[in-house]
């Protein structure tokens, strides 16, 4: 009866990873169609991707937006979490709810709302507007992760730091931030992965400079090609790298 759990294990992981595995496999296809039989391996589609200026600039845009919008979301999320965790404010339950609520709103609604507001405000669609959109979707996540990590343990250390003569800025920078750094890093890397392959908001809020998912979507309209598989594999590689960094630098440190 030990077979059943293993069978379940294999099936579950095949269900999750078979599509991605196929995608990566056929990115090495030596032919013009990403369908069986597999003739390869070949790196010709990767070299085509590297030679495609539109794809490369979309990839750079995506990296820039992912890191910048995540950094902003994490800074804002930390400030909100610190304020709500450390100070008794009127209506703090309401504020907390309001900060987390956007997590429950679909990206389409957020994107449409931003599209209307930003164009009305006279802000032309650009990479900046996508970055704003990604801050909006990642701020609740960053806030929730960092807020959850702020407990009495840091509060006592903060008290001790004040007692030893630290000013408020020194308390935050020298004690609170280092103590919740694992949560800050987790929030950052998760935000990066979400921003990195986010499509709907990026699609609605860009015009000429686009992010990688939008570029891939426009390539898809001209049909399947192993080139798309190669791009998709690169996207996957970046996401996996972010998750591995998260595992290495954040979760492993938790265990002393």
């Amino acid at each position: 009866m030990r077979v059943l759990p293993w069978l379940y294990f294999v099936l579950a992981f095949a269900f999750i990873y078979l599509p991605v595995g196929t995608l990566v496999l056929f990115s090495f296809q030596d032919g013009i169609l990403p369908v069986p039989p597999f003739n390869g391996p070949s790196l010709r589609w990767y070299s085509e991707v590297a030679a495609d200026d539109d794809l490369i600039s979309a990839l750079a845009n995506s990296l820039l937006i992912a890191t910048a919008s995540s950094a902003v979301a994490v800074v804002l999320g930390f400030c909100a979490a610190y304020g709500l965790a450390r100070h008794v404010l009127p209506g703090s339950v309401f504020m907390r709810g309001l900060l987390i609520a956007p997590l429950t709103v679909s990206y389409l609604i957020i994107g449409l709302g931003l599209l209307i507001v930003l164009t009305r405000a006279g802000l032309g669609l650009s990479l900046l507007t996508v970055a704003i959109g990604h801050v909006v979707i990642n701020l609740p996540l960053a806030f929730a992760i960092i807020y959850a990590s702020m407990g009495a343990q840091q509060q006592n250390a903060e008290r001790a730091a004040r007692d030893l003569g630290a000013g408020e800025a020194q308390v935050v920078w020298l004690v609170t931030v280092p103590m919740v750094l694992p949560a800050i890093a987790a929030a950052f890397f998760l935000s990066v992965t979400f921003s990195w392959d986010e499509f709907i908001i990026a699609f609605l809020l860009t015009r000429f400079d686009v992010t990688l998912p939008v570029e891939i979507w426009s390539l898809l309209r001209s049909g399947l090609s192993p080139r798309l598989n190669a791009v998709g594999s690169l996207v996957f590689l970046v996401s996996v790298t972010a998750v591995i960094l998260l595992e290495l630098f954040v979760f492993r440190k938790r265990r002393p």
Binding site: N156, R159, D163, L164, G165, A166, M179, L181
Partner: protein
């Protein structure tokens, strides 16, 4: 460095809860005092007021002759050693201990030198580059002490510092705390609920209950001559004997005592070790052993006296053969061993 502390007519409310009631307390420079009381008695609140973490509703706190009532913790000549040590987990011991000096703008080589000396004082000099999580509870406690003392405070505030340690380590740390305090001459204010710890360590004990000071004085005085019934009970085991006011003092089932009380009803208290075998000035008389247990240096016995069978006396008898249940003996005491307190109805 050291300074006297003076607290005058201090009151504090948490919402509608009167946490500190008319506290007046003078602490001499260089004294080791303990605030002793059960949980919820206000001792930690009083310590937070001294440290500047709570601004009292009324009253003043002066340290070294300067009014500190509304001064922030960072600007006070006090440091606090917190109950859970509150070490900075992301810094090594040297950075933990020198944090206060870093905040004061002392340059790196000077503050590391001082941190080294402080770690030496608490016998952790060779662990300077370790992180707090690599240490045992007792060692963390020493680091917290070194960190609090590195800035040379006039007054060190200790919030149940030994609460998390096991009994043996606690006794060892008590001796160490006291010897470090003697060495530095800093005023120490130590909060505890353990009366043995308070007696072992303090020059002055302040017994607190329900937000008020019940008694204060040297440990031996507070133990032997407690000012109130609460202090008498909290400082150690006490026998309670009902009494009523009489013509020359009070009348108990064991005869008259010279102590005078205000009010008709009273309770006469006597420590278990003050009850003697044999005849004496105050004759408790014949008594029957209810149960007895061997405690090493004495035998602790519950006895039912013949003249007052509803009073059960606890006495420390000389160590020897364990008396059997039902065995009879004659007991007595000195009149001055009794403390008499008036009680309400």
């Amino acid at each position: 460095m050291t300074a006297p502390v003076s607290i005058t007519s201090l009151n504090h409310w948490f919402g509608g809860f009167h946490a500190l009631k008319d506290i007046d307390l003078d602490i001499r420079a260089g004294e080791y005092i303990t605030l002793l009381g059960p949980s919820g008695c206000g001792k930690t609140t009083l310590l937070s007021v001294l440290g500047g973490f709570i601004t009292p509703t009324q009253g003043t706190v002066s340290i070294g002759g300067r009014d500190m009532t509304r001064v922030a913790p960072a600007k006070r000549p006090t440091t606090t050693m917190f109950q859970d040590y509150a070490l900075f987990p992301h810094m090594n011991l040297r950075d933990n201990v020198s944090f206060g000096l870093r905040m004061a703008g002392v340059d790196k080589s000077a503050r590391y030198k001082r941190a080294g000396a402080m770690l030496e004082l608490v016998s952790l000099a060779d662990a300077a580059l370790k992180r707090p999580h690599e240490l045992s509870g007792g060692q963390r406690q020493r680091v917290a002490l070194a960190r609090a003392l590195a800035v040379e405070p006039d007054v060190l505030l200790l919030d149940e510092p030994l609460g998390a340690l096991d009994l043996k380590l606690r006794r060892a740390m008590q001796d160490e705390l006291k010897s470090i305090q003697r060495q530095l001459g800093t005023t120490f204010v130590h909060v505890t609920h353990d009366q043995e710890e308070a007696m072992a360590i303090a020059d002055q004990i302040v017994v607190m209950n329900a937000g008020s000071i019940e008694d204060q004085g040297a440990p031996a005085r507070v133990y032997r001559e407690p000012a109130t019934l609460f202090a008498a009970d909290f400082m150690g085991e006490m026998n309670h004997i009902p009494a009523t006011a009489g013509p020359d003092g009070v009348v108990t089932p064991f005869g008259a005592l010279p102590q005078r009380v205000d009010g008709p009803k009273a309770v006469a208290c006597i420590r278990p070790e003050a009850i003697k075998l044999g005849d004496g000035p105050v004759q408790i008389g014949g008594a029957k052993i209810k149960e007895a247990a061997f405690f090493g240096t004495y035998i602790r016995a519950h006895l039912v006296p013949d003249v007052a069978p509803d009073v059960i006396l606890v006495a420390h008898l000389p160590p020897g053969d364990l008396p059997e249940t039902g065995a009879r003996m004659t007991l007595s005491a000195e009149p001055q061993a009794f403390h008499v307190y008036a009680v309400g109805d």
